[in-house]
Amino acid sequence: MNARSLRVGGLTKRFQLPSGDILAVDGVTFEVAEAEFFTMLGPSGCGKTTTLRMIAGLESPTSGTIVFAGQDYTRVDARHRNIGMVFQSYALFPHLPIFENVAYGLRVRGMAADDIQKRVTRILDLLGLGGLAERHPGGLSGGQQQRVSIARALVYEPGMLLLDEPLANLDAKLRVQMREEIRRIQRELGIMSLYVTHDQEEAMSVSDRIAVFNLGKLRQVGRAEEVYSTPATPFVADFIGKANFLEASPLGEGRFRLTNGTTVKPRLALGLPADEADVAGFDTVVMLRPERLRIDTAGGKVPCRILRRQFLGGIIRYSVEAEGAKLALTVDAPRDIAGTGEGAQAFLDFEERDAIAYASGR
């Protein structure tokens, strides 16, 4: 990490409510590099937005530190942080024309009028808003309003850009288009960006790194490939992509027995004690991605019954009940296999290196 990085250490936020305290953010620690696109991902109420708002200075942390470019930001007023923020609701000033909305941060900084003119025009052009300067926000489409909101956050060249679910109010097609555009602009300006979303596909498609949150805690940070292929916890595995869990009991030496008796040796075993002697008696699960499972009528590791078969074009999705496992599994197969209609008996098969075992904690 370099000098202009953001370091968040032990960040905690406790909300005091009449109904009791809520630990919204619980000891979150991470670092973001200069020019990095960093996404905070998680279900609603996981603490990602609160973390973002503490970095913005809109909430004050209960404890922990926020250091940006070597300077302690923890108690600095939001307006002195030189941060650009894009809100889910865009938060455009409805009484000001687009030009004035974008120029706002520059006027506050007391910049000369012709410099403002130049900068605003440049950023509006960058976002393809050239002809809209005189219009009011009310007359713009959702996508255009979002661009204005981004322009307003970038025009004063902030140290970092924060985006709080910026695409949530757009329709599906526009969402894909806008996220590519946000990524393009972010690369072009080389600005550190912190992006909050609950959409894992969105997170994986644009981010340099993803931070997965759950119940106020940061569960895993990594590149999309890392997080997908080696999820740190069953929650992360389930949240990023689809995951199947088979109950298993540990046998030691990295081996696990499934409920139907089959023994497997997964690539990794996470959350288990390092000492082999303590492993026995732990409840564990073996996680498998749907596309790593194969259905075979001749034979395989786990016998199963096919409950549902959906033809989805590129893939065929099976819901199966593994005998003994009593779990609904999803299998994504590239092509149809004879004798695998609904109700048919078949076998599940997989490579041991595609499986990861977790202490299930259930």
Partner: protein, 568 residues
């Protein structure tokens, strides 16, 4: 890329003292100008006249008269009778009107709703004396009937006149609230009932009516409270028929017996609180929320028979309700009305006389109303903003300030101010300040509600966005918040000012010779039977309020009726 130099060195977050200041200010204002005089008045009610407030002086003597004195007993029952009958009459007038406007496809519906607000804007006592012009001993209709049919009409003075004038003056509250509820109710519910085979009458009885019962109750409560606290109408039309407010006035004006007045005021308030309790009970028994927020308007009947019937009813009710205002304006142009049916000499003489000899009341009203409006704007805006945006510890004080004046009739506030500020720590009686402060306590809620609604419409993220752009609190207020709520502030201010022009129930107790207002001038003209002068002055007041309120509604893009509806 180079960051623009913003603030050299990161500055510490400064202590947020504004919410505390607002809290302290709100509490101090409430304590000094509302709680203190009220406590004084309550204390005074338990002390014999002329005695200081002390433990050994405590007595129930002032209340005893409600058991012993005939005039007290009469006034109490009269108040109850007037309040209940005026409320019932107003409701009977308003419900068909509300249904006709909301559910029958009659023409000019917007205009009808706007016209129905007029009686609320011009003070009801202006309507009261126009009934004298029409139906008094020498009234236009009285004489016409006497001439044509040789029949002497019964006197307008007494309960009949008071109840009629109050009902016609306040029925729009029921109308506006119920019409709003009927127009907004989910049409699918009624359609579902029809699909199940219910007849139109059955739907009205079992679906439509129960769904607007809370609205009806709310409207009736407002009428009841207003009728119970009204001073102008019974004092002009009551004659010998006394109600609690006129009894209070009598005790103060006749004997300057503040302690007796305070006791009567407490009884008056007790009746109001009782009515509030009934409303709460009605609403608790019928707790159903509107399940959907359907954008679709409710269905309106389009049959020509229904349209004709509804249209005629609406026309007749509106004509009767607006007759007082029309009469006042017409009679203000009459210079002499000697002898027969038709006024003989028309002209601007009344205006010339009133405005040249007595322009002082107009100036006084402008000064007092204007100052009070300004105070309301500052207090109402700041508190409304902070209630919507921040938590601060003076909440209860604020709720009190907003709710209490609604429950307290003007005359009661007047009594409290007389008792509280006549001697002791703060002496204000006879000054302009006491009027301004009394107006302020009675009207701050209007600005508060108007601004609170406006702030509620603004996404709080706007202010956060402004802060992140680097703006300080003052800049955010000046460039973002104030421009966005300005129309609401202005509209509230205009409504406060307009309604203060006709304010009489507080003014009548607190004014001094130097600070006579338009409403007092009109009242004195009426009492001394100079009706044409009163009409000229009344026309000035009606036209001023009308222009102001129309301006306000244009400003916020909301109709007058919506503004009045939101007061309930």
């Amino acid at each position: 890329m180079t960051a623009i130099a913003l603030h050299p060195g990161a500055e510490r977050r400064s202590f947020d003292w504004i919410p505390i200041l607002v809290g302290v200010l709100t509490m101090a204002t409430t304590l000094v100008f509302l709680v203190y005089p009220l406590v004084c008045a309550i204390g005074g009610a338990f002390v014999p006249s002329g005695e200081p407030l002390a433990l050994e002086n405590l007595t129930l003597g002032n209340f005893e008269r409600f058991l012993t004195s005939t005039s007290y007993k009469r006034a109490f029952w009269n108040s109850l009778v007037v309040g209940l009958t005026a409320t019932s009459l107003a409701t009977l007038l308003a419900l068909p009107l509300a249904y006709a406007v909301a559910r029958v496809d009659i023409p000019f519906r917007r205009a009808i709703v706007a016209l129905a607000v007029l009686p609320l804007i011009s003070p009801p006592f202006i309507g009261a004396y126009s009934w004298i012009i029409l139906l008094g001993r020498n009234g236009l209709i009285t004489r016409l009937v006497a001439h044509v049919f040789d029949v002497q009409l019964p006197s307008i003075y007494g309960p009949f006149g008071v109840i009629t004038a109050l009902a016609l003056g306040y029925f729009p509250y029921v109308f506006l609230i119920v019409q709003g509820a009927l127009a907004a109710s989910d049409p699918y519910v009624e359609e579902a009932a029809r699909m199940m085979g219910a007849s139109r009458w059955r739907i009205l009885r079992t679906i439509t009516f129960p769904s607007v019962v809370p609205a009806i109750a709310a409207g009736m409560l407002i009428v009841f409270i207003k009728a119970l606290g009204d001073f102008g109408v019974p004092s002009i039309l009551g004659g010998e028929y006394q109600v609690l407010p006129t009894l209070i006035y009598f005790q103060i004006h006749g004997f300057f017996n503040l302690n007796a007045a305070a006791a009567i005021a407490m009884v008056n308030v007790a009746l109001t609180v009782g009515a509030l309790g009934v409303l709460a009970w009605v609403n608790r028994r019928r707790t159903f929320a509107t399940i959907t927020g359907v954008a679709r308007a409710s269905r309106r009947a389009t049959g020509s028979g229904a349209k004709l019937a509804a249209g005629s009813y609406v026309a007749v009710v509106l004509l009767i309700a607006l007759l007082p205002q029309i009469t006042v304006v017409v009679s203000s142009f009459v210079e002499r009305w000697s002898g027969n049916r038709i006024p003989l000499i028309w002209g601007f003489g009344n205006f010339a006389r009133v405005l040249t000899n007595l322009n002082q009341p107009v100036i006084n009203s402008l000064i007092l109303g204007g100052t009070a409006t300004l105070v309301c704007v500052v207090f109402g805006t700041v508190t409304a903003y902070y209630v919507s945006r921040k938590r601060f510890f003076g909440r209860w004080a604020l709720d009190l300030t907003i709710m209490l004046p609604f429950v307290l009739p003007g005359l009661v506030v007047g009594v409290a101010y007389l008792v509280g500020f006549n001697d002791g720590w703060i002496v204000l009686t006879g000054t302009a300040t006491i009027l301004v402060l009394a107006y302020f306590t009675r009207r701050a809620a209007y600005i508060f509600r108007s601004v609170q609604a406006a702030v509620g419409q603004i996404d709080g993220k706007l202010e956060e966005a402004s802060t992140l752009c680097g703006a300080n609190w003052a800049t955010t207020m000046r460039r973002i918040v104030v421009p966005l709520i300005a129309p609401a502030i202005l509209a509230g201010a205009i409504l406060v000012f307009a309604t203060l022009l006709g304010e009489i129930s507080v003014t009548i107790l607190l004014f001094s010779a130097k600070w006579k207002t338009i409403s007092i001038a009109i009242y004195e003209y009426v009492i001394s039977d100079e009706l044409h002068n009163a009409s000229a002055m009344g026309t000035v007041a009606i036209v001023m309020t009308l222009v102001l309120v129309l301006g306000a509604s244009r400003l916020v893009g909301r109709s007058m009726s919506e503004m009045f509806r939101s007061w309930g």
